[in-house]
Symmetry: C2
Subunit: 243 residues, 2 copies
Amino acid sequence: MSDLRRLEIIPVPGLPEIKPGDDLAGMIIDACTAPADPPIGLQEHDVLVVSQKVVSKAENKLVKVDPTDPNAHKPLVLEESVRVVRRRGELIISETKHGFVCASAGIDRSNMAPDIAALLPDDSDRSARRIRDAVAGRQGVNVGIVVADTFGRPWRRGLTDIALGCAGVLPILDLRGTDDAVGRELHVTEVCLVDELAGAAELVRGKSNGIAVAIIRGVDPAWFGPGSVREDIIRDPSEDLFR
Amino acid sequence: MSDLRRLEIIPVPGLPEIKPGDDLAGMIIDACTAPADPPIGLQEHDVLVVSQKVVSKAENKLVKVDPTDPNAHKPLVLEESVRVVRRRGELIISETKHGFVCASAGIDRSNMAPDIAALLPDDSDRSARRIRDAVAGRQGVNVGIVVADTFGRPWRRGLTDIALGCAGVLPILDLRGTDDAVGRELHVTEVCLVDELAGAAELVRGKSNGIAVAIIRGVDPAWFGPGSVREDIIRDPSEDLFR
């Protein structure tokens, strides 16, 4: 974050409908490298933000539900949760077995066949690593992967995309100990890089256009490194003031 | 969000140190239109994301504090708040008089002289409107403005930038009633556009590089319209499950 690079957010069209067992990484590579005007391609230090939905489909995290009942997935919400945090009417905010605090345990039925509900991937960091490894192995480029989903926030209306999992890119950019622009040491400066990348990608992925992948191009190579959403971003209940 | 536009996130260097009473809008216009390689400029439907810090400085929301006491601004936190939501040790999460729920009432001392603390602007939506009106009046272009600050989240580590105020750009993109990619009506699809724009801009603004303004270029003209953070994003306490 110290130089003046411009970033580009590039929607990747052409990903086919994903089915359980599909080679998602291969299909993403194909979509990125397909002829296009302008061409997209895959470049060193690109960050690919991938919708949770297509990951869940490829990993067969799909459950049959009664297509005539809009609440048919509700029992699944409790099955996927380890604790209910708040409940009001139909709305359930819970801590999922993966550690996320969100509505409906992240289960959703939009952009799905009416008789199918998609659960969250078992381990979205692992899902991200698999895609990253496949891109490195097949294309020879070092990319970051963020698996993104859409969550609400307690005190602000509207939803934003956040990272469920990541690979290759630092989850948190820790600027503590560096100096600010006037030479004072920065104190509280842990930037949640992958959540900002997920939100930025949503600006071109959208909800209604079927674009499941976006590339963020031009990011600082210093943002690449180890870490996972589970280890680095999910707040431990012991430091939580709101659970 | 229905077409395949690429977005560009452009850092704007060259903004001088802002002092109380400065013509912030004019200085932002000058920084955007100064000779640069590549040139930046101001284009129709650009969204300018402006750091709260420079707005607070221009609007003289500055308070003298004891430079030797790192907690000297703490009494200000309570003065700026209407209710304390959570407190643990030095950490105070409160609802500010502006309606935000955040740590330290948004008061911060980073990137400031040691004897100065900056409070939040009185009305960040109004601050955004002023900049927007100045750009329209002086440059003849219709831009969106987001005044951004860095907030934490209850269940996720790390901070992200969010919108304190906005003008010209829709705070929430309401996709309810539109169809998703498989023709089903979308249900919960209120995207908090300005928060995602703020977070995207942070990726180039950073905390340590002194870049207070970024342009997001290429956004859908359909995202332009009325609204404010105060009216459209701040959740009413009556619908709040976590206050």
